[in-house]
Amino acid sequence: MGYPYIPNTREIREQMLREIGAANINELFADIPSQIRLKRKLKLPPAMSELEVKRHVQAILAKNTPFTQMLSFLGGGVWPHHVPAHIRSLVQRSEFLTSYTPYQPETSQGMLQALFEYQSMIAELVGLDVANSSMYDWATSLGEAALMCARVTRRQKFIVPKLIAKDRLSVLRNYASGPGLEVVEVGYNHRTGQLDLKQLRAELGGDVAGVYIENPSYLGFLETQGDEIAAAAHKTGALFVVGVNPISLGLFKGPGEYGADIVVGEGQPLGNPVSFGGPSLGIFACRDESKLLRQLPGRLIGATTTLDGKARGYCMVLQTREQHIRRERATSSICTNEALCAVSAAIYLASLGPRGLHDLAELCASNASYAMKKLNMIKGLRAPIFDAPHFNEFTLTCDDTHVSIQKLNAGLLKRGIQGGKSLRAEFPELGETALLCTTELHSREDIDRLASALNELLGGKG
């Protein structure tokens, strides 16, 4: 049987072997020492026809329950949103989909311009002049931001809030371990969740490379002290780094407006499906200052002109920061990034526009607000646990009941509802608490359904 992806048939290959003067195909592999030659066939499933593969893989995936078939309140780093149909149809255009990194600008203008537009829209959204054309995800963007702060300031300490996702913190620690950066956690006000400024000021000194906060925070509340944190960091010569959910920026000020030097975040909600957490889209933006630009990781697309100066065009720029030129002195080893997810984000933002993004963010926040109100009415439940403004995620605690979040979630699941993420392992000090998320996917009835299910589970009347 032939393979549909190999055009040269056995006969043609025999002919080619003859033309190049090889007796058989094995001659071309004679340089592999016999001791290490594989003398058996690879033990893999036998090839299947396209139809069989389709049935087989569909059957495996059918064991999943996608959140389109149940009611889910999960967020926590990736967030479910509606992806307008035209986005997938455009990014699936095979000239985009099947191209490599745009090393040849003359034949890759389409991807280059789309990425330039992505950079431009992200820059606008976060309130800075420069964004790169993507990193792997939020967590790795954060890791790279810490490394960049250390290179720019030649200092070795990076401050983070205690209330960040432990998985993200773990990624950060791995990135920081290369040059041996110290990652220091700063606590929070137990009533409001806000960063403990007193502790921050005590930690700040001539050895701190960067201060990181998330806004909205991992637990959904807004950090209202952005200006003060920026000022405190800058006073000691540290850079100020802010992590964002970009959808929130339809409503809220871009971090550049309150002093951020670097902004990172997760771009998945901008037109990319949740997809079990990947592919994702690492946002990375910074101030337009040569001291920072020189240390920026990742690929940058710039506007230029043709050599004759007549037409505008786009190409990769400042490549001397990158691994293929600078090797061990590169700002990062990243090469393959998440370009196509960035194009999705560009198309998404262009489709929503300022009004759409504002209304979307408002709807997400309004749903969370409604959900908190409803859940608070249930005896024994409290949402949120922090007294602060929230975006579209919030904490729910059942500490005053005799049941655990795990048990509540199991009960919800039996009713076709995926509850919030338990924070038990990450923040035991928060007790029996979960993190919930609402977006435009949730209707008022959906939230009512959650509330009545919880009420029922806690022994109230349905």
């Binding site: 040269n8 959140f67 255009r93 990194t101 537009e117 990624v171 300022p354 209707s443």
Partner: protein, 498 residues
């Protein structure tokens, strides 16, 4: 056959904006008041405003000014630009793959876990390793994690002197960059006259400070490191680990395995060898495989199967693990595509992939050897593997026209350029990787194009130097672009005003 890429004078999307236009709809109006202090709210947001048909036309036109594998021959060396089967896209786009959340209860994502488990099994067999982590997003990410594992390994042996990683002078730039990111000093070992690692130089380089050697095999010259057994012995005897850069795995599938060659850590590029599309730069996936002794250091979680319960689960209980290296479990969407590809090909199919790819590269090597202007820098009687590196030095000597111009002129023939000026040890390098996806006719056309360009370089050098002319745009001022970088619409407007 003449070629002309679409050439739109397409403004930036910001320039197409008209106030009040909308390209999407919301299910309902917000009903709750949001209690947020006014000083946190933004006043303006200058995103473009367009209707859906305008957005669709704009990005359709942009796509037409882009060149992919589906457009034609893409012999970009080291990038394995093979055809990406469409059924992989279709299955990866199913709701059951796209609309699952990483924090969902395990019983609701059994299909995803099973798929990851099965893919891991396939990859361990292909590479001859004990376990594979699917968490890493790309090749360089895999390399970086491999270096973190290397460090964890030496640390576990209480061996803290090992601060050097050795890379050949022909290595991909990501290798030294990844080693440096992990905190290692990089030591370069030269290639010998045969285009392979200089074994004596390697022997002189290894020491009690050697943490690892990073090696691509076949190497970036497309040549098999035939002294790999000796190389492995030298590194292992010195107490170092051997890391396999999987960029060139397409050259050896089913013939030999990195694990059998003696490698301790291996990374895969699913977006190269296993046919997932590269998306203009990504997303990819760069799983890493390790031998038994290093298994415990892999990132958490790994997918396990509980036979008693008949259930797959994430195993976080791995106390020696280096921890997390990406927010969630990897680029799942890409993993689905790679698994579909593996099922389509099967073990024998993968062997045929390698045979066809290697034959295609050798065919180009033989055919191009007879063309005046190009030469091989290493013994031409050695077969190459999946790619071949020619030098355009003779052409440059004769006409002043080197690899860069040859590559640009090739675009006018409706083909993508090979990788050029890489690897750095070959002057005027043209690194050609045809993959198994190309027909003999296409290869002939490519060789003919290179012959034509060599002739043009002598008879009509201006034509070559002013190329490309059949692309969406002509040669760009890349020097200016980097000297005065304009990186966003905001910056563009400022520069236009300034």
């Amino acid at each position: 056959m003449s070629y002309q890429q679409a050439r739109w004078v397409e403004p930036l999307i910001f320039e197409l904006s008209k106030p009040g236009r909308v390209g999407w709809t919301l299910p309902e109006k917000p009903r709750e008041r949001i209690n947020v202090p006014k000083e946190l709210l933004r006043e303006k947001l200058e995103l473009p405003e367009l209707s859906e048909p305008e957005v669709v036309r704009h990005y359709t036109r942009l796509s037409q000014m882009n060149y992919g594998v589906d457009s034609g021959f893409y012999p970009l060396g080291s990038c394995t630009m093979k055809y990406n089967p469409k059924v992989c896209e279709e299955l990866a786009a199913l709701e059951a793959a796209n609309y699952i959340h990483p924090h969902q209860a395990e019983e609701t994502v059994q299909g995803a876990l099973e798929l990851m488990y099965m893919l891991e099994r396939c990859l361990t067999e292909i590479a001859g390793v004990a376990r594979v982590s699917l968490q890493t997003s790309a090749g360089a990410h895999g390399e970086f994690v491999a270096m973190l594992i290397t460090r964890a390994y030496h640390k576990s042996k209480r061996d803290d002197k090992r601060n050097q990683v050795i890379v050949p002078d022909s290595a991909h730039g990501t290798n030294p960059a990844s080693a440096a990111m992990a905190g290692y000093d990089v030591v370069t070992v030269p290639s010998n006259a045969r285009g392979r690692v200089d074994l004596d130089a390697l022997k002189a380089t290894v020491s009690e400070r050697t943490a690892a050697l990073m090696l691509t095999n076949p190497n970036t010259l497309g040549l098999f490191e035939d002294q790999i057994i000796e190389i492995a012995k030298v590194v292992h005897d010195a107490g170092g680990l051997l890391f396999y850069d999987g960029a060139n795995l397409n050259g050896i599938l089913g013939r030999t395995r990195p694990g059998d060659m003696g490698f301790d850590i291996v990374h895969f590029n699913l977006h190269k060898t296993f046919a997932t599309p590269h998306g203009g730069g990504g997303p990819g996936a760069g799983p890493i495989g390790v031998q038994k002794e290093l298994e415990k250091f892999l990132p958490v979680p790994l997918v396990e199967y509980d036979k008693k319960k008949g259930r797959y689960y994430f195993d976080y209980d791995r106390p020696h693990s280096i921890g997390k290296i990406k927010g969630f479990y990897g680029n799942f969407g890409v993993l689905v595509k790679a698994y579909v590809y593996l099922l389509l090909m099967g073990g024998e199919g993968l062997s045929e992939v390698t045979e066809a790819a290697v034959l295609n590269a050798n065919y180009i090597m033989r055919k191009l050897l007879g063309v005046d202007g190009y030469e091989l820098k290493f013994n031409p009687s050695d077969p190459c593997k999946h790619e071949v590196v020619f030098s355009a030095e003779p052409l440059k000597r004769m006409t002043g026209i080197g690899a860069h111009f040859v590559a640009k002129r090739l675009l006018d023939f409706g083909m993508h350029a090979p990788t050029y000026y890489f690897p750095p040890i070959v002057p005027e390098a043209l690194m050609i990787e045809p993959t198994e996806s190309e027909s003999k006719e296409e290869l002939d056309r490519f060789v003919e194009a290179l012959r034509t360009i060599a002739e043009e370089a002598k008879s009509d050098p201006d034509k070559v130097c002013s190329a490309p002319t059949a692309t969406a745009i002509g040669r760009l001022d890349e020097v200016k672009a980097s000297r005065q970088p304009i990186l966003s619409w905001r910056a563009y407007r400022k520069s236009a005003k300034g």
